[in-house]
């Protein structure tokens, strides 16, 4: 870099250059007004997207089988979130590393989420007031051995594959599920009232701004990704670039999302980390173009500049 040399004096730099009047302030004023007009027109005519947020209540009503299946999977500790790993818990299901480089693991747990407890057992224990059946079912479940709990849950989750919905109830074929059907039916009822949205958000504090738990729970279900699929927002649909409805999205993310569409990123379990690394390298390259031979010479080789400065070159001839 030219840090050592004193900066070139502008008068010196422009010596021999033909100067012309140029009203910078007027240019800015015109740009401001022109941009405002364009933006106001676009806003008035096309508005902006606002697809209402999904709720756990909406989920429980629209797809109770998916809701109950997800909840049971959370309780059994087999869900994506339950096995995720840092920053949520000590699992390893979603930990991405690149050889010995394992920043996700190194960073540790900072947003503690215990899926069976946070998504199912805690909210249910809040709801036992006046509900002896639920209290008893919870007690039965909590005092059973982990092996017994898993047996009930696995049998129930399997039976949910051919469940039916009658009214507000999810019904499965009879089997040995212990207290699980009661727990699930109460959770479903709680969700349908909107109570679970609130309970997942709550903590020891009055004010809430951290939606980690409700979002993680919602994200584990098929209902949520089904909504996204309908809006063309999923990964295989180049979703990162897209916006809901017919609005333009984030076109500037084209290169970021492109990698996910080509091998080896399509099948890599650490695709996210790989893409982050690739994009970091490319961003650094963009930053350092002035110092990269070849890249910095392309403008000289491909003379687009002859169009930019054509009146200048004409005046030089």
């Amino acid at each position: 870099m030219s840090g050592r040399r004193p900066p070139i004096d502008k008068g010196d730099y422009y010596r021999g250059v033909r100067m012309a009047p140029y009203d910078l302030v007027k240019e800015l004023a015109i740009a401001l007004v022109g941009m405002l007009v364009v933006v106001l027109l676009l806003s008035a005519v096309l508005s902006s997207p606002d697809v209402p947020s999904a709720t756990i209540q909406g989920w429980a009503k629209a797809d109770p089988v998916d809701f109950v299946t997800t909840a049971a999977t959370e309780l059994s500790g087999q869900s994506l979130v339950a096995q995720y790993g840092p920053p949520y818990n000590d699992g390893s299901g979603s930990v991405q590393s690149l050889g010995p480089i394992d920043p996700q693991q190194w960073a540790g747990v900072h947003v503690a989420v215990n899926a069976p407890l946070d998504f199912v057992l805690e909210p249910l224990s809040q709801a036992t007031v006046g509900d002896q059946t639920l209290a008893a079912a919870l007690s039965t479940f909590n005092t059973a051995t982990p092996t017994q709990q898993q047996k009930w849950l696995n049998a129930y989750i399997q039976a949910l594959g051919s469940a039916s919905v009658t009214g507000a109830q999810v019904t499965v074929a009879s089997g040995d599920y212990g207290p699980v059907p009661t727990l699930m039916s109460r959770l479903l009822g709680l969700a349908r009232t909107g109570g679970l949205d609130a309970l997942l958000l709550t903590s020891d504090y009055f004010y809430q701004t951290d939606y980690s738990k409700p979002l993680l729970f919602l994200g584990d279900g098929g209902y949520f990704s089904g909504l996204a699929q309908a809006q063309d927002l999923t990964g295989t649909q180049w979703g990162m670039m897209n916006e809901t409805g017919r609005y333009p999205g984030q076109a500037w993310l084209w290169l970021y999302t492109l990698w996910y569409q080509i091998p080896p990123f399509t099948t890599a379990s650490n695709a996210d980390l790989l893409v982050v690394v690739v994009m970091t390298v490319l961003s650094l390259a963009l930053l350092l173009i002035p110092f990269i031979p070849g890249l910095r010479d392309i403008p000289r080789w491909i003379p687009v500049h002859r169009l930019i400065w054509r009146s200048h070159y004409r005046s030089m001839e």
Partner: protein, 239 residues
């Protein structure tokens, strides 16, 4: 009139009112050094000249100022949205309109910023000591992407939810997930309405000052040659 733009100009005999501390180099210590730097590189004449090199007469040069214009409306509409609270635009048609202004000015901002980047790339705008200007520009680009990202996260609608749930995996993979929690609305909101816009604005101001203090890079093929002599043919005032 203001001082001429001579590089390294020093006021003679400026030590009389200074405390005469040794070891600061220029007379008058740090204050005089900063003042000298500002008045030579960033005097009002330097910041707001009435003339530019004639080669600036190309539409490619307006992309930068149009990007600034878009940013002004992004910030202005954002201020209104922040003033009225994060839920306002979902229930008020005026609020939705301001959200639309914010949405479209962001689109315009990125469109013209990228066009400006293309123009600067094909003109190799980093030449003649302007590498730092290019680099600050790239940092603004990357910073803006992060700012926009936090913006999408705080819309409080389905799009926010979906983006949050999906982006978390990429952020988590870098180890930053515990410190930059895309599921934490409060954190993303504070970043989006205050910290990141301040960062972008400061960087843009720096970028503009860099351009104004160095002037517009000469065309490729008509290089600056320090030995070049010759009188001013152009009405440019001699030093």
């Amino acid at each position: 009139m203001t001082e001429a733009g001579g590089e390294g100009a020093r006021r003679p005999g400026g030590g009389a009112s200074d405390d005469g501390r040794a070891g600061s180099g220029a007379e008058g210590g740090w204050t005089a050094a900063v003042r000298s730097r500002l008045t030579t590189r960033l005097s009002v004449d330097e910041l707001l000249p009435a003339r530019q090199p004639a080669y600036v007469g190309s539409w490619v040069y307006v992309f930068g100022v149009v990007t600034i214009a878009a940013l002004v409306w992004v910030v202005a509409s954002g201020c209104v949205l922040a003033l009225m609270g994060s839920a306002w635009w979902h229930t008020s048609s005026l609020g939705h309109f301001f959200n639309s202004i914010h949405f479209w000015s962001v689109q315009m901002f990125f469109i013209f910023m990228v066009l400006h980047l293309w123009g600067q790339y094909w003109g190799a705008g980093w030449r003649d000591g302007r590498a730092k200007t290019w680099m600050v520009g790239v940092v603004i680009f990357l910073f803006s992407i992060v700012t926009a990202f936090t913006g999408y996260l705080v819309q409080q609608n389905f799009d926010s939810q979906w983006i949050a749930v999906n982006a978390k995996d990429a952020v988590n993979s870098t180890g930053l997930g515990g410190f930059f929690n895309v599921l934490n609305f409060g954190q993303m909101y504070g970043l989006h309405v205050m910290l990141l816009p301040i960062g972008v604005t400061l960087l843009v101001v720096l970028h503009i000052l860099q351009v104004r203090s160095r002037g517009v890079v000469r065309p490729i093929g008509d290089p600056y040659t320090p030995e070049a002599t010759g009188g001013s043919r152009t009405g440019e005032r001699p030093r």
